[in-house]
Symmetry: none
Subunit: 219 residues, 4 copies
DNA sequence: GATGAATGAGCGTTCATTCAT
DNA sequence: AATGAATGAACGCTCATTCAT
């Protein structure tokens, strides 16, 4: 998949060179490992056997790299949503499929270079707020980045409306599901003991139950 | 209110000196303003007209200060929940009250020093994940800090069970509400245009509707 | 033993109060443990359950404390030399006894507070040069401190002259023995494998052999 | 002379750039002037008109720099010993030459950059113990550094054995001479008045006399 | 286009010391 | 006399970035 990343986030398209791809792949891996705070271009440089200054050819700074990765993630989610829902007619089926897609625990790989979706998800949840705060600083690329995320939200909201046009908060519910899908990862990691998840009960179950209850109720 | 903060987070109780209180008050304000990343003890020192080294007498590092503030917030939430629910008998009333407390936009002030709850909430949502990542490093205070948060989650989960003992995911729903209550702030700031909120429609409405639907449904 | 320490090294005589004695005892122990470089009054304060500022009542700074300890050591050596040699008539016996005293590995304790001579020796050897460099800065107390050390050197040199009045370098030989006695500790610790010491061969043997050879030779 | 320094002490070979050489030359000079304790990379940076951070590219910390300088010194001593003794046949001549080399006061310069041997010697004597304490911390480079020093000790010990195979403490005597050669500098500086040295009597005389006496004696 | 060297600025922390009690 | 609180200054080090090649 070649995600659509708005120009201006990068200086030089990382997808179009070997070094660029390495920066993405190892960048994702390193951020996941040591956290974005501790992540520096120097450390990434060491990891890819290259000088830190080379990375600056691609991204102005580490924040732009994170924005790139985030945009990438949401593009990928949007792409899969559209692709998988395309041939479903029944709104209920469409919504069910969407929720499954968002909440299930995949081990799919993006790109040729074997970046796992689950690793990306990890980074997104850990740095979700950060990406938005960054945007307040980088006003130029502000809208560009957020657009992709918003499109995902509105896509789900549309399906919700199809299922129950009378429900009053489709956008809020959409946000809750999307955000919730991220939050599951977090809960599983840190609070296994206070959730109701088990082998047979999954986040997907929880959200399907929730959405069904809410939308049937107001029907 | 004097929150219960587990010792070990601070070196010297900041509540027990003028300088300590200043550190808390101005610390909260500065973290909110420039973000935790950019926040340093040096900048805080300048703001409180004191040397950064003085702050080190109270907190080992800025991460411990954030842990303190977070513990404080969750203690405060727990305190209000218990206090306000104490005299309500009907489980439905109790749950409604709890949701209102969590989701409403207060401008209450903590402490004598005029720290606004809404500012605290802002910090918590922006750094929620971080506080837990920290804990993975500071294993000693690990459990202590998380305990308060867990107590809040389980408190709500208990009320949910009272309302509908047959519902399968009380803890998950509790997490969703608590996390959701934080998320509202965020949405309002960054996505006003994609939520369904208006003067007359509030986060409280959304969550009350959600919970009612879910719990009635499985009754 | 109450060593004679020249005033000016301390602000308040540490031997005359409980806190003072604690400072000496624990100071010696801590310097030995973590090294003089890493040693600070703050750490010592923690150890003796007292505030660092209290220590400043006794010693201007940690360098003065080291000077005090060093003076103490050399006074103690001088005291033992004089005491043990006093009743010996034969110069050869006197020299032999002196060498034994300097080179043997004692576990004698100074003061009431159980400071081991071997610990002191450890500190002296590790910081010998430093004490002299300090003196170049503190010109006032310069001579005072060095005097004690010089008296030990000259005492041995005198005995050497008694044994062999024709030997040309009594002072140098004296220095070699005194310095050598310290150096043994060091060799044993770091170079066990390149010295000739064993259960039955000791530093004392080496020095007795050396001195005998040198003084007989020129007789 | 290009000394053999075991890798791992430096991050980037200081001999291979102008800045690196400057760091060595001015580093030696500054340590000699203000002492190793007071020496910091910041001060060195000011002196070489460069930022301290640049120095960190070469050496992890000032302790590693001192290790480098020390290794350098002992390599230089070993080199001169081997070179000057190579063509001497008579063991007595070899030993005499070795003692002269070790004890004489040279003003030879190392490297192209005019680092005086005497300045180096000054640093070595002042920080001899320290270099070994460091090694206890930096276990990796431990053996590497000590090796060079040991080789010098064993080299002299071998010659001693050649002169008198029956002498019981060749290694100890070797240590005494090598350590003593350093000690002379110290004595001259601090105790001119208590040594027997004069225009016509030198440390070399003292040690030649000592060694001759000891080795003849047991023959 | 990619890299290595260099650097200014700033971070997190400790030190030595003073002041008020 | 002893202590606790406070602080300026400095330390050791890393970061983000630029420049020259």
């Amino acid at each position: 998949m070649k995600p659509e990343i708005y120009g201006g986030i990068f200086l030089k398209d990382p997808e179009r060179s070997e070094l660029g791809k390495k920066i993405l792949k190892e960048g994702v891996s390193l951020i996941d490992k040591i956290g974005f705070e501790a992540f520096t271009f120097k450390k990434l440089g060491e990891r890819i056997q290259s000088n830190e200054s080379s990375i600056y050819r691609y991204f102005e700074n580490k924040h732009k790299l994170l924005l790139y990765i985030s945009s990438w993630y949401w593009s990928w989610i949007e792409f899969r949503l559209i692709f998988e829902i395309a041939n479903l007619e029944d709104p209920n089926h469409r919504l069910t499929k969407a929720i499954i897609l968002l909440t299930e625990d995949t081990s799919l790989e993006l790109l040729d270079d074997h970046i796992k979706e689950s690793t990306l998800k990890q980074i997104i949840i850990s740095n979700f707020v950060k990406t938005f705060n960054m945007n307040e600083v980088n006003h130029e690329n502000n809208e560009d980045f957020i657009k992709t995320y918003k499109r995902v939200i509105l896509l789900i909201a549309e399906i919700i409306k199809e299922v129950n046009p009378n429900y009053s908060y489709p956008e809020n519910l959409s946000c809750s599901i999307v955000e919730g899908s991220l939050h599951q990862h977090f809960l599983k990691q840190h609070f296994k003991n206070i959730t109701n998840y088990s082998e047979s009960v999954t986040p997907t179950d929880f959200f399907l139950n929730m959405v069904k209850a809410i939308l049937n109720n107001t029907e």
